[in-house]
C-alpha cells in the first residue's frame, strides 16, 4: 500500500477524533447561542464562565478532589506496592488479585456499591464520600505504576544498602524510594487525570449539592449545555495539553540521560 494511502487513512481517523473537539472549541468563541450558526467572535462566554458561581464551585471541587485523591492514593499505593513486593509469592498473589478487582469492575458497579456502603453506614454523601471513592479507584493505578519499577530494581540494591550499614528504614528512604520515584510520579499523574475525568463513580457517591464538573455537566445536559461549558472545556483541554506535554518532555529527558 502506498505511503499516501496510509497517511490519508490516519488523517481521516484523527479527523474523526478531533472534529467534535474543534467544533466545541470554536463554539466557545461564538457570540451567539446557536450551536450551528457562527455569529461572530466573542470572549463573552469566557467572561460568563468566570462569573458563574456554580461552575466555579464545581471546578474548585473537581480540582481539590483530584489533588487530594491523587496525594492520598499515591501515599497508600506506594507503601502498598513496597509492602507487596516484599511479600512471599502467595500473599502477593492474593493482594494482586484484590488489586485487579476494582480495575475489572465496571465503573457503574463500583459507584453503586460505594453508594450502598455510604447509605448503609449512614455517612451522608458529599465531598468526603466522593473523595473516598476517588482514592479507592486511584490506588490500583498507583500500585500498577510503582510495581514494575520495584521489579526492575536490582534485587540486591536493598541488601547492598544494608551491607553498607544502612538500617532498613534508611535503605527504604534513600534507596528504594528514589529508585521507584518515576513510577510514583506516573501513578500520581494518572490518578489526578482519572479523578479529574471521572463521572460515573462521582455521580453515585455525591449529593446533588456537591457537584464536580462532570456531574454538573450531566445535570445540565438535559436542559441543553450552555456555551459557558464549552468555554470551560476548551480551557481545561488546553491546561491538560500543557500538562501532558510537560510530562512527556520530562519522560523523554529522563530517557535521554
Amino acid at each position: 500500500m502506498s505511503k499516501f494511502l496510509k497517511r490519508g487513512y490516519l488523517t481521516l481517523v484523527l479527523l474523526f477524533l478531533y472534529v467534535p473537539i474543534i467544533v466545541l472549541i470554536v463554539q466557545s468563541f461564538n457570540a451567539g447561542v446557536s450551536r450551528a450558526k457562527w455569529e461572530g467572535f466573542s470572549l463573552h462566554w469566557y467572561e460568563r464562565l468566570f462569573n458563574s458561581p456554580s461552575i466555579m464551585n464545581a471546578l474548585y471541587i473537581t480540582v481539590t478532589i483530584a489533588l487530594l485523591a491523587a496525594a492520598i492514593a499515591t501515599v497508600i499505593g506506594t507503601l502498598a506496592a513496597i509492602g507487596m513486593h516484599a511479600m512471599s509469592k502467595r500473599p502477593q498473589g492474593v493482594m494482586m488479585t484484590l488489586t485487579n478487582i476494582p480495575m475489572t469492575m465496571p465503573d457503574i458497579v463500583t459507584g453503586i456499591s460505594l453508594m450502598l456502603l455510604f447509605i448503609f453506614t449512614q455517612v451522608p454523601r458529599g465531598y468526603f464520600t466522593m473523595l473516598l471513592a476517588h482514592v479507592t479507584f486511584n490506588i490500583p493505578y498507583v500500585i500498577l505504576s510503582v510495581m514494575p519499577k520495584l521489579k526492575q530494581m536490582n534485587k540486591f540494591s536493598y541488601e547492598a544498602a544494608l551491607d553498607l550499614g544502612a538500617t532498613p528504614g534508611y535503605a527504604l528512604r534513600r534507596v528504594i524510594l528514589p529508585s521507584v520515584m518515576p513510577g510514583v510520579i506516573t501513578g500520581a499523574l494518572l490518578s489526578f487525570t482519572l479523578s479529574l475525568d471521572d463521572f460515573t463513580i462521582s455521580y453515585f457517591t455525591t449529593s446533588p449539592l456537591v457537584q464536580n464538573l462532570s456531574t454538573l455537566i450531566y445535570s445540565e445536559a438535559r436542559k441543553g449545555i450552555k456555551p459557558t461549558m464549552n468555554a470551560l472545556s476548551a480551557l481545561m483541554f488546553v491546561a491538560l495539553l500543557v500538562l501532558l506535554l510537560a510530562v512527556n518532555r520530562r519522560a523523554s529527558l529522563a530517557n535521554d540521560s
Binding site: 490516519l10 450551536r35 516484599a86 493482594m95 475489572t104 450502598l116 455517612v123 490506588i139 528504614g169 445536559a221
Partner: protein
C-alpha cells in the same frame, strides 16, 4: 461546600488509624528495629476490605434478599421477567395474570441482549478501524509514530461527557451536518436518537483503547521476523498474514478487552445520543437503583453484569495469558 460534614466517628477512626500507622513506622525506624516491609501494605489491605470487599458484599446481600431482608431469588426472577412481582401478587390474590393480558416482561433480558449486541458491534468497528491505524503507525518508515500516539491520547483528555455532547451539535436536526446538507440543497437527515448515533458515540470514545495495545504489540515486534519471512520468499501480504498478524494477536485481545468491557456497561452515551429510545444495561441499573428505588433488583442486575464480565475476561485472558498490552495507558 455545605455537605462536607462527615460523621464524628468516621473522623476519629480515620485519624486514629492514620496516626497509629505513622507512629508505628516512625517508632520502628527510630528503634532501628527492622520494619517488616510487608506491613506497608497494611493500610491498603484495610482500604480494600472497607471500600471494595464490603461494598461488593453489600451488593451480593441486596441481590439475594427482598425488601424485608429475607433470603430470596425473586430479584433474579425479575431480571428474567420484569413483571414477576406484579404477576406474583396477582396470583396471591387469586387472579390469573394471563386473563388480564399480563405476560412475561422481557425488558431486562432484551436490554442485556441489546447491550451485548451494541458492545459487540462497537468492538468490531473499533477493531476494523483501529487495526490498520495501529499498523500504519507502527510502520518503521513512518517517523511520526510516537507523536501520533500522543495525538490519539489528547482527545481522551477532554471530559468524556463534553466530548459526547459535542457530537450532539454535529448530529442535531439543526446541527452542523444538517446545516451543511441544507446549504448544499440536500434534504436534512435524522442523525440523532437512534442506535447508530449511540454506536458512533461509543466508537468515538473507545477507539483509542483498541489502537494502543495493538500499536504496542506491533511496534515491539522484531522487524527481523518480517524480514526473515520475506527472505524466505513470502510477499508483503503473506508476511503480514503469516507473521505480523499472528504475532500481534495478544495486542488485539487486549484491545478487544479494553473496548468490550466498558462498552457493555456504557452509561450516559445512550441517554445523550439515543435520547432514551435506546436504553443499555448500565442505564437500566442506574434507573432501577435511583428512579425505581429498587436496590434488590438493581443489585441482582449489577451482579449479573459482573458475572458476565468475569466470564468474558476469563475467556479473553485465556487467549492472552501474559496480559500483554494491558495497562498501556
Amino acid at each position: 461546600m455545605n455537605n462536607m460534614a462527615l460523621p464524628p466517628w468516621a473522623t476519629w477512626v480515620m485519624l486514629l488509624g492514620f496516626l497509629g500507622f505513622i507512629g508505628m513506622i516512625a517508632l520502628s525506624i527510630r528503634r532501628n528495629r527492622g520494619v517488616k516491609r510487608s506491613l506497608f501494605a497494611f493500610p491498603y489491605g484495610l482500604w480494600i476490605v472497607l471500600f471494595t470487599l464490603i461494598p461488593l458484599l453489600l451488593i451480593a446481600y441486596y441481590a439475594f434478599t427482598n425488601k424485608a431482608g429475607g433470603l430470596t431469588l425473586d430479584n433474579f426472577k425479575t431480571f428474567w421477567d420484569s413483571n414477576y412481582e406484579m404477576r406474583k401478587q396477582m396470583l396471591d390474590l387469586g387472579v390469573n395474570p394471563a386473563d388480564l393480558g399480563i405476560a412475561r416482561g422481557n425488558v431486562n433480558v432484551d436490554t442485556l441482549v441489546y447491550s451485548l449486541w451494541m458492545a459487540f458491534m462497537c468492538t468490531v468497528i473499533c477493531l476494523v478501524m483501529g487495526y490498520p491505524a495501529a499498523l500504519f503507525m507502527a510502520d518503521r518508515s513512518f517517523k511520526l509514530g510516537a507523536t501520533l500516539v500522543i495525538l490519539f491520547i489528547i482527545p481522551m483528555w477532554m471530559n468524556f461527557l463534553l466530548r459526547t455532547i459535542a457530537w450532539m451539535s454535529l448530529l442535531e436536526d439543526n446541527g452542523l451536518i444538517n446545516t451543511l446538507l441544507a446549504a448544499m440543497g440536500l434534504p436534512k437527515m435524522r442523525l440523532m436518537y437512534n442506535s447508530q448515533a449511540v454506536l458512533l458515540g461509543m466508537v468515538y470514545n473507545y477507539l483509542p483503547f483498541m489502537v494502543f495495545p495493538i500499536y504496542n504489540s506491533l511496534s515491539k515486534q522484531d522487524r527481523r521476523l518480517s524480514e526473515a519471512a520475506m527472505d524466505l520468499g513470502a510477499n508483503a501480504a503473506l508476511t503480514f498474514l503469516r507473521v505480523t498478524l499472528p504475532l500481534s494477536l495478544p495486542g488485539v485481545v487486549s484491545g478487544i478487552t479494553m473496548v468490550f468491557m466498558p462498552s457493555v456497561t456504557t452509561f450516559f452515551i445512550p441517554r445523550v445520543l439515543g435520547g432514551g429510545n435506546t436504553e443499555m444495561f448500565g442505564d437500566l441499573i442506574e434507573r432501577t437503583f435511583l428512579s425505581a428505588d429498587n436496590w434488590n433488583v438493581g443489585s441482582a442486575l449489577s451482579l449479573i453484569m459482573m458475572i458476565l464480565i468475569l466470564i468474558s475476561l476469563t475467556l479473553l485472558r485465556k487467549a492472552d495469558p501474559e496480559g500483554e498490552g494491558s495497562g498501556t495507558l
